[in-house]
Amino acid sequence: MKQTISIDALRVGMYVNLEGSWMNHPFLRSKFKLSSKEQIAELRKHGLREVVIDLDKSDVAAQPPQSVSELAYVSHNDTPADPKEQAPPAKWNPENLVAPELMEAIHDKGMAPQQKSQAVYHHTREMMERLLEAPTVENVRAGKEAIRAVSELVLSDDDTANAMLQITSHDFYTYTHSVNVGITSLLLAKAMFGNSDGHDMHELGAGFFLHDLGKVKIDPEIINKPARLTETEMRRMRIHPYQGYKILKEAQVMSEESRIIVMEHHEQFNGSGYPKRICGDEIHIYGRICCIADVFDALTAERSYKKAMTPFDALTLMRDKMQNHFDKKLFTQFVSLFTA
């Protein structure tokens, strides 16, 4: 018997049938039994949201979809799972988290801005993907050091930074979004603060890039849901700023000011944001900066339930329909990043 199931319900041991899928999947055969979690990740990477499985040829039965009310509020990764499902031992560690090519590209003085921006963007996303997959204290520390180097490049090399702003791509993934928001927030901070001594820009960069770290604590069924979230799911989602703040505090890797970015990036100027519902100057200026970049990237990204907007349309919408959400002065400066 064949059954179509969500990619989130796929398990090792299931026999998948990819014939007729709209995508060019990366596997040699269209019908095969899943033998590793990496294969599932690969399918997900290629944008597949639903898969046909053949129950008769599968080792495991499809589970009925869990209702959201039964999901743990915070995802507990230490819950014992079926041995067949257990993830392999930590694949990413401080030794292999950051590709050597990232540092080489950053420090290569001869590389053209276009080429450099592409190499740095690609490898930073790759590093962020690994970090979100294995957000251990050691990896967060190593990742933060790499982000400092990327921040230094964005702050010191205008040509490469502007090229990066042009090539930002959009997909469903938190790691791509994290890098996009990291770059645009940092450029806005740079435009606002210039070279004034009062701000540790590299430390700030780490906060911007890691603003969504807390999403690792949210149930993946909610993170990957290919539709708008219900109010109940939104309530669960809204704890990610605090959870990210907590991870960074426990890892003792960033200054309090920088962690505040993670905590306050969903607060809105008129007090209608979350989690603390603070408003105006109560929101740290770093949080206000990240909020603008975060909304802009969400609007310009494609989702399964909405098309991507052009940067121009996104900025127009933010100006006309969301003006109370943002610090006006910061927003004006943000617009000039794209029009200058």
């Binding site: 509020y73 109940t232 809204r238 704890i239 605090y242 959870q243 979350y274 603390k276």
Partner: protein
């Protein structure tokens, strides 16, 4: 016995369990907790809590 959820951090106040470390005995109804009590996880005030659906 009802449960209330902190919208800031996800902590759940369970009336059956109370919050002994915060001076709230097991079995204490939500209404009986004074307004100066804060979330033991993140420090949010009672206003940040909503009933668990």
């Amino acid at each position: 016995m009802k449960r209330y959820l902190c919208d800031v951090c996800g902590y759940i106040y369970d009336e059956a369990q109370g919050d002994p470390d915060g001076g709230i005995a097991p079995g204490t109804p939500w209404e009986d907790i004074t307004d100066d009590w804060v979330c033991p996880e993140c420090g949010a005030t009672k206003a940040a809590f909503l009933p668990c659906e």
